[in-house]
C-alpha cells in the first residue's frame, strides 16, 4: 500500500514491515500490515484509540516481547534490511539502534547527566570524555543544553514536565540510533512544551528517522512527512502527509479526518 514506487537509486527503507500479523495471545491486534519508513523522514501513525498504532510502533524495537503471549504470527519486520525476529538478532543491539520515547516522561531519579549517559554506560562505554561529549551532543539535539549545562548533576526529577520529556529524547538519542520511535510523546504535556517538541522533531529528522504515534491529527500534519492511518488493526492508508490529509484515497480515512465515523 506504499504510495511511492521504489526508485532505483534510493536506499532500502530503514524500517520495513511486510505482511505482518500480530497477536496478543488469542486475539489478533494487527492484520497484514505493510509499511515502509524512509531515512530522515518523520512518519506519523494515526488512528482511533485501540487501533493498534502503539502495538505497531512497539513491533519495531520488539518491546512487545515483554508482553506474555504477544507475537508476530505472519510476515516480518525489517530494520535496515535485517529481519529483526531472526535468531541471530541481539535485542540489545537492535534497541541500541532503534530508540524509543514513551508517552509518559519517565526520567530515572538520577542526575541529568546519568540519565543521558545511561544508554552508553550499559553498552559498556566507560571513557569520561566520550560520555561527556555524548551528553552534550544529545542535550543539544534535544534543545536542552543551554538550559541545563550548568546543572548537569541536578536530579532529573526537578525538571518541568516538558524538560523531562526532552531529557527522555536526549537519553534515547545518546546511543545514536537510526530510528527514534515516539509513542504519543506530547500527550501529557501543555501546549507550549508540545510546540517545543514538535519543533524538535524537524531537527531530529535531520540526524535520525522518526516514527511517531499520535492521536492528534493536527500534530501529524505539523510534524510528519508521511502518515499511516490505522483502524481496527488494519493499515487503511499510508501516504505522504499532505496527500493523505488533503486528498485521502480511502473513504474510511476521509470519514476519520472529518470526524464522522459511521
Amino acid at each position: 500500500m506504499s504510495a511511492d514506487s521504489p526508485a532505483i537509486a534510493t536506499p532500502p527503507p530503514v524500517v520495513q514491515v511486510r505482511d505482518m500479523d500480530f497477536c496478543y495471545g488469542a486475539s489478533q491486534a494487527l492484520f497484514d500490515i505493510n509499511l515502509k519508513v524512509e531515512y530522515h523522514r518523520v512518519t506519523a501513525l494515526i488512528g482511533p484509540s485501540g487501533c493498534g498504532k502503539s502495538t505497531l510502533l512497539r513491533c519495531v524495537n520488539r518491546m512487545n516481547d515483554r508482553v506474555t503471549g504477544a507475537r508476530v504470527t505472519k510476515g516480518e519486520v525489517l530494520v535496515k534490511g535485517k529481519n529483526i525476529h531472526h535468531a541471530d538478532v541481539d535485542l540489545t543491539q537492535l534497541r541500541k539502534q532503534v530508540g524509543m520515547v514513551f508517552q509518559k516522561s519517565n526520567p530515572f531519579p538520577k542526575s541529568i547527566y546519568e540519565n543521558v549517559a545511561y544508554g552508553l554506560r550499559i553498552h559498556g562505554e566507560k571513557s569520561k570524555s566520550v560520555l561527556d561529549e555524548a551528553v552534550e551532543r544529545s542535550l543539544t539535539h534535544a534543545a536542552l543544553w543551554e538550559e541545563l549545562k550548568d546543572r548537569l548533576h541536578a536530579n532529573a526529577l526537578a525538571l518541568s514536565g516538558g524538560q523531562q520529556q526532552r531529557l527522555c529524547i536526549a537519553r534515547a538519542i545518546a546511543t545514536l540510533p537510526d530510528v527514534l520511535l515516539m509513542d504519543e510523546p506530547c500527550s501529557a504535556l501543555d501546549p507550549i512544551s508540545t510546540l517545543k517538541i514538535e519543533e524538535l522533531m524537524h531537527q531530529l529528522a535531520k540526524e535520525f528517522t522518526v516514527v511517531i504515534v499520535t492521536h492528534n491529527m493536527q500534530q501529524a500534519v505539523r510534524v510528519s512527512d508521511y502518515t499511516a492511518f490505522l483502524h481496527l488493526g488494519k493499515l487503511v492508508e499510508f501516504a505522504p502527509t499532505e496527500e493523505l490529509f488533503t486528498n485521502p484515497r480511502e473513504k474510511l480515512t476521509e470519514a476519520y479526518l472529518r470526524g464522522t465515523f459511521s
Binding site: T92, N106, Y118, G119
Partner: protein, 393 residues
C-alpha cells in the same frame, strides 16, 4: 413510634431504633479499640515500672552496666542472725560466710538471677546477624526472580501460595525442621565422618559429610532465616513492584539486558525499602523462641562464643601473621551454641523457682528485650518515612 414534633424543626431526630443501634455500634467499637490500647499500654507500663529500675540507676553512669556486661550467674543470698541479707556471687559467698563466722544463719541460691544478661544479648545479636544475612540473600533473590523474571501464570501463583503458607507455619515446626535439616544433616567438611552421618562423599583431601552442624549459631540462624523469609520475600517483592514499570521499559528500550535493568534502574530504587522492611524481619528473628530451642540456644552457658579453650595466639607476632588462626577463631564463633534473650526469659520465668530475687533478672531481661525490639521497629518506621520523602516519582 414517632412522637409528635414539638418544634417546627423538620430535621429533629426521632429517637428511632436506627439511631439507637447507631449509638450502640459506635460505643461497642469504641470500647473494643480502647481495650486493645489499654492492654498494650498496661503491659508496657508494667514492664517499664518493674524493669527500668533494674537497668537504670540514679547514680552515674545511670545505666546498670553490670546487668548489661556480665554473664548470667547464680545469685547467693546469705542471711546473718540479725536477719540482714547479703547478695553475692559464687566467688564472694565463701568470703562473706567466713567474715560472718558464727553470725551466719543460712544461704540460699537462686539460679541465673545474679550477674547480667550479656550472654543472651550477644547470642541474640549473632543469631540475628546470621539469619538476616541468609534471609536477605535468599529472600531478595527469590523476590527478584518472582517479580522480574518469572512468567505470570499457574507456577507463580503456586509459589506465592507456598510463601504465604510458609508464613503460617507454627514456629515450633520451624524449630523441628531446623533440628532435622541443619543440626543433624547439613553438610560439613571433615576428615573422619561421624557414625551418624547420613551421607559421606569422599573428596580426596577431605570428606563432605552430611552429619549436621550441631546446635550452634549457624543452625539457629539458618532456621530463623526460614522463619523470616516470607516476610522478606513479600516485602521485597512489594518494593520491587513499587518501582515504576516505565523505568524497566525505558531501560530495556535503551538496549539493557534484563539483569542490567534490574541492577541499574530497579534495585537501586527498591533497596531502601527492602532494607527498611528487613529491619522488621530482625525484630521477628530476635523475638522467636521455638525455632532456636532445638537448634542454637542453651539455657545456660558460662562462656561467650569467642571464649574457647584454645591455645593462646603467640603474643610476639601481629595478628596478621596468624591470620589463619584468627579466621578460624572468628568462624568458630558461629559454631558455638549460645544463650538467646527470648529463651533466657523463658528459662528464668518458667524453669526456676520463683521468689523475690528471681524477679529482678526477669523484668530486667524483658525490659531490655522490649527496648531492643521496639527501637528496631521504630527505626524501621523512621527510615521508611524519610525514604518515602526522598524517592517520589
Amino acid at each position: 413510634m414517632t412522637p409528635a414534633p414539638t418544634t417546627d424543626n423538620p430535621f429533629a431526630g426521632d429517637n428511632s431504633g436506627i439511631q439507637k443501634r447507631e449509638t450502640a455500634a459506635r460505643w461497642a467499637l469504641r470500647i473494643g479499640s480502647h481495650i486493645v490500647v489499654f492492654t498494650t499500654l498496661a503491659i508496657m507500663l508494667h514492664i517499664f515500672v518493674k524493669g527500668a529500675p533494674v537497668v537504670f540507676q540514679s547514680k552515674w553512669p545511670f545505666v546498670n552496666t553490670q546487668f548489661l556486661t556480665k554473664l548470667p550467674a547464680t545469685l547467693h543470698v546469705i542471711e546473718d542472725k540479725q536477719g540482714h541479707r547479703i547478695e553475692t556471687d559464687v566467688n564472694g559467698a565463701d568470703a562473706v560466710k567466713k567474715k560472718l563466722g558464727d553470725d551466719f544463719r543460712s544461704e540460699k541460691t537462686v539460679s541465673y538471677s545474679g550477674g547480667g544478661i550479656l550472654g543472651p544479648i550477644v547470642g541474640t545479636a549473632l543469631l540475628v546477624v546470621v539469619s538476616v544475612g541468609v534471609a536477605l540473600f535468599l529472600g531478595v533473590a527469590c523476590a527478584i526472580y518472582l517479580s522480574e523474571y518469572a512468567k505470570h501464570g499457574k507456577f507463580l501463583e503456586t509459589v506465592r501460595l507456598a510463601i504465604l503458607n510458609l508464613a503460617g507455619v507454627p514456629s515450633v515446626v520451624f524449630g523441628l525442621f531446623g533440628l532435622g535439616a541443619f543440626v543433624l544433616t547439613a553438610p560439613v567438611f571433615v576428615d573422619v565422618p561421624a557414625d551418624r552421618s547420613v551421607l559421606a562423599i569422599p573428596l580426596g583431601f577431605t570428606t563432605l559429610s552430611f552429619e549436621g552442624w550441631d546446635t550452634c549459631v549457624l543452625s539457629g540462624g539458618f532456621t530463623l532465616a526460614f522463619v523470616i523469609l516470607p516476610v522478606i520475600i513479600t516485602a521485597s517483592e512489594q518494593c520491587l513492584q513499587a518501582v515504576p514499570q516505565g523505568f524497566r521499559e525505558t531501560s530495556m528500550a535503551l538496549g539493557a539486558t534484563r539483569w542490567q535493568t534490574i541492577r541499574y534502574s530497579v534495585l537501586p530504587f527498591a533497596t531502601p525499602g527492602i532494607l527498611t522492611s528487613s529491619i522488621l524481619g530482625i525484630a521477628r528473628a530476635a523475638g522467636e523462641t521455638a525455632p532456636i530451642m532445638f537448634t542454637a540456644a542453651l539455657a545456660f552457658k558460662d562462656k561467650l562464643p569467642w571464649q574457647k579453650d584454645m591455645p593462646p595466639l603467640p603474643t610476639d607476632a601481629s595478628i596478621f601473621a596468624h591470620w589463619e588462626q584468627s579466621v578460624e577463631r572468628f568462624l568458630g564463633i558461629f559454631t558455638e551454641s549460645v544463650q538467646a534473650l527470648p529463651y533466657h526469659i523463658y528459662t528464668i520465668a518458667a524453669k526456676i523457682p520463683q521468689n523475690e530475687y528471681s524477679e529482678r533478672a526477669q523484668y530486667g531481661s524483658v525490659f531490655v528485650f522490649l527496648v531492643l525490639v521496639a527501637s528496631l521497629a521504630t527505626s524501621s518506621i523512621l527510615l521508611r518515612k524519610r525514604l518515602r520523602a526522598k524517592y517520589r516519582w
